[in-house]
Amino acid sequence: MRCRQVVDKISEYIDGELDPELVRELERHLQHCEDCRVVVDTTRKTVEVFCNTEPAPLPNDVRERLNQMFRHSFRKGEPN
């Protein structure tokens, strides 16, 4: 397997969706290719950091306007 093919297969590899035979080929390549190891590792970390980071708290003014909207809707009864 060449570097280009490793890049093409990164998504399926880190998602665990790559055919086992291709996993073996890709991992053989990684054993001797430092650049591809780095790209695979940092791509995996990229996905993890986006997945694991909680969103920021809602801005106070946004929360207040959301509550206002609900108070308005509830006062009217079931909204249209």
Binding site: I10, K45, F50, C51
Partner: protein
């Protein structure tokens, strides 16, 4: 995916029976997640707030139709994604959202830049609010369609098939854009977390 409330089922049942407080409790658990989805997809805070308000109201009106086949959050986030997509379409950003020309080598393959391992894990390298801000910033480097796909698949953890279905795209298109998005975001984050870090964190750049 957010943490779910232990008493989610009973809150849903109460909300369906007309208890508006129960609905607000449910909504408050997920509102910042919905706001982030709106912000990631639309790219601006005003639209993100509109997405939060409109999808909350739609969910409130339709809560009786929620059948409990999925988590409440999955149902809510689908509503929010559709509202956010409506905004992109209104501004013609969805249709015009073409994939950037990839950097190709002689053999036609994508050539990654910023090949540099990371030092500390991002969670250790910076404060939580700095990281939240950085991620919100770098995702905007993607075109609208790509960042929507990335948000659904990698942040909200929809499957490839669900993402394709929700967006009306083919599975190969979703896979191609997801790969490019991951590689592009990897490069952007390497500028901050690479061992020879050259960029300061966004908050300290001010």
């Amino acid at each position: 995916m957010p943490t779910h409330l232990d008493n989610e089922q009973s809150l849903v049942a109460a909300a369906q029976a007309g208890d508006s407080d129960a609905f607000v409790t449910l909504l408050n658990q997920y509102s910042r997640h919905i706001y982030r989805v709106g912000l990631s997809i639309t790219g601006n805070h005003q639209d993100a707030e509109d997405v939060l308000q409109e999808s909350s109201l739609k969910a409130y009106r339709a809560i009786a139709e929620f059948q409990g086949k999925s988590r409440f959050y999955s149902w809510l986030v689908r509503i929010a994604v559709n509202v956010a997509l409506g905004k992109l379409r209104k501004r013609a950003l969805w249709k015009e959202s073409s994939l950037d020309e990839p950097r190709e080598g002689e053999d036609g393959g994508y050539i990654p830049l910023e090949i540099e391992s990371w030092g500390d894990d991002p969670e250790k390298a910076c404060l939580n609010n700095e990281l939240q801000q950085l991620l919100a910033e770098v995702i905007q480097k993607l075109d609208p369609k790509s960042r929507t796909i990335f948000t659904l698949r990698d942040v909200e953890k929809f499957t490839i098939e669900e993402t394709a279905q929700l967006l009306g795209l083919s599975i190969p298109v979703v896979k191609t854009r997801l790969l490019r998005s991951r590689l592009k975001l990897r490069e952007e984050l390497t500028k901050y977390f690479g061992k020879d870090t050259r960029n300061a964190m966004p908050t300290s750049r001010r």
